[in-house]
């Protein structure tokens, strides 16, 4: 490993860690507002998010279950970003994938193994198709993909609300919910009572696949070049439009699969208000994970753990609203984005102490 490479990895790890610490420190001001000691609050948060008392009472398993869709939507964002498309349409693709799974889960009867496989493939196809629209609008007409994907998210969520309330509604009860899917379609779980299961293995496989695709395959190389250096890519004979389109289709397929796995593996039906922000968190996971599959894997677990810890540890144990979890995550992203803050800080410390290397000149 060259020193430069080692420096890159150190940079990629050090800054997120500093950002997490700064985020927690700044958020403790808000914890004090609700008259609780931040140390107590954070101990509860991490205990409820990552703790493991016994094999049967292990918060970490729940965190891994909740990290599963985030890994997929995070990867989805990584592939899109790496092709030069700032797609934040994971939410819409996720919702449509979930609806495909809910519908085929009870509407079609197939033998085990075949049933979930068929559903996953179709959910991927639907997700990819839904990503095709903003991709083509961007490539043909130059319509900004951030705005179109946000509108497409709204449309998908409204469509889901309609389906859950009317054609696919199971009962006349007060909550709008689709019928429970067949047992043959449900994904196996590792431990009884936990939904942590086959979906997580698929997520790990997806991480490996996307890493191999982006860094060890020719189409992946073309796609990265189209994203990072469009001029160079064109000069090298890469059709960057096609590469970007391919990236968007893979991105949509991953998000669609995430929605299907959430239905097949966890909820087994779709409720009104399903997936609030699950797809959108994927974008943040990708940014915090350095737009890299391995980073996505680590950050997805962190994200899921902080959200779970805020929900169980903060809200139930210490009576602090669980929204603090999201606030902390937002601050962490802010600190990662403002990373030159830390070089400034180091320069300042060096000046105060009067030693150390000359501060690095920042292009501020």
């Amino acid at each position: 490993m060259t020193p430069r490479r080692r420096g890159q990895i150190l940079d990629a790890l050090l800054i997120p860690i500093l950002a997490i610490l700064s985020g927690l420190a700044l958020a403790s001001v808000f914890v004090l507002l609700s008259k609780t000691s931040p140390l107590v609050a954070y101990r509860e948060l991490f205990h409820a998010g990552f703790g493991c008392a016994t094999l049967t009472r292990c918060a970490l398993f729940t965190t891994l279950e909740r990290a599963t869709p985030l890994i997929f939507t995070g990867l989805s964002a990584v592939v899109a970003f790496r092709s030069g498309m700032f797609s934040i349409g994971q939410e819409g693709q996720f919702v449509l994938g979930a609806m495909v799974a809910a519908w085929l889960g009870y509407g079609v009867h197939l033998p085990p193994v075949v049933h979930p496989t068929v559903i996953l493939i179709l959910a991927m196809a639907v997700g990819a198709a839904y990503a095709y629209l903003p991709a083509i609008l961007k490539l043909r007409l130059g319509v900004n993909e951030i705005i179109t994907t946000i509108i497409f998210n709204n449309i998908a969520i409204l469509f889901m609300t309609y389906l859950v309330n009317f054609p696919m509604r199971a009962t006349r009860g007060s909550t709008a919910v689709t019928p429970v899917i067949d047992a043959s379609a449900q994904l196996p779980e590792f431990l009884p009572g936990s939904h942590w299961g086959a979906g997580f293995i698929l997520a790990i496989l997806a991480v490996a696949f996307i890493w191999g695709y982006l860094w060890r395959s020719v189409p992946g190389y073309e796609q990265r070049m189209a994203g990072e250096a469009p001029g160079f890519a064109r000069y090298g004979g890469i059709r960057s439009g096609r590469a970007a389109l391919r990236g968007m289709l893979i991105s949509g397929a991953l998000a669609g699969m995430a929605g299907a796995i959430e239905v097949l593996g966890v909820h087994h039906q779709v409720l009104q208000g399903f997936s609030v922000g699950l797809g959108f968190d994927g974008v943040l996971v990708a940014i915090l994970g350095q737009v890299h599959p391995i980073g996505v894997l680590m950050v997805a677990v962190l994200f899921a753990g902080i959200r779970l810890g805020a929900q169980i540890g903060l809200q139930i144990t210490t009576n602090i609203p669980r929204e603090l979890g999201g606030g902390i995550l937002a601050l962490i992203i802010l600190f990662v984005a403002a990373r030159s803050l830390y070089t400034d800080l180091l320069a300042w410390v060096a000046r105060i102490t009067g030693r150390g290397a000359a501060p690095r000149k920042e292009a501020a």
Partner: protein, 322 residues
Amino acid sequence: MIGDILTVAVLRSGIRLATPIALAAIGGALCFRAGVLNFALEGMMLVGAFTAIVAAFWTGSTYLGVLAAVAAGGLIGAIFAFFYLRYRVDLIIMALAINLFIAEMTVYFLRTFFGAFGSWSDPSIRQLPDIAIPGLDRLPILGTLLSSHNIIVYASWIAGVAAYIVLFRTKFGRHIRAVGENQSAAETVGISVPAVKLFVLVTSGCLAALGGAFLSVGHLTLFTRDMSNGRGWLGVTAALFGLNHPVFVLFAGLFFGIADAIAVRLQTVTTIPPSLVQFLPNIAAIVALVLVGLSGRLRWGTLRLRTRPPQPMAEQVDAKGP
């Protein structure tokens, strides 16, 4: 059927509903003209909605609530500008983080201070009064449409015209547009680029927050979780649809407002499921963007947004060189 849906009352409610979208859109257009992508309009609007009602409750004056909201939006814009200008923070990542932070923390404060869950209101908070324009209010249809709105509705119209005058009739406006069109050229002739960017970000924060105040103390008198509900993003779309020209943008906002009002109206006069009716503004937005895209092929290419997805930082550090 059509006459049943497109009544004067619906148009009037469309004009009202257009207010927050138009205010955000005018702010967005100012930013885009200066080459700054402001995707934090959604969060700025939400912070305005929250601050307006809380300040109105604490001070007992709705107008002071509105002022506080404008100040809060301006503050968010200033923070945004500080991180962007001083630390070169990616605008879009920053905007996403700000939007998330505000969406979560407004609910956090609501719960911590008022013990309220989904939504909060207090009987002591008074709605912004409607003001009749003398003379205009006696005209038959026009009076109903244009008179007896609250002050924020009028402010949105004034903001559109004022933004037009500033952008196209003043020296400072020429500077704003110069920065957007060619930043290094603007720098060369001595325009202070940071000052221009600070100005557009703070102004857009004030305008979007004023739109938020309309939601919580002008249109209704309550705050609900995620009250802006995508209107900030509709503002971004309206800015593009209006080709970032403040007066066109005002009408683009009106278009979305009327689409919204028609959706509400359809719910009461037909049995179409509400979620299907709410497709309307979204479909309208997509059509609007496609139209902008098509026209972009003609001569408005410079007005289209260019965004670059986030890159891993190791590579960014490399790009800066030794």
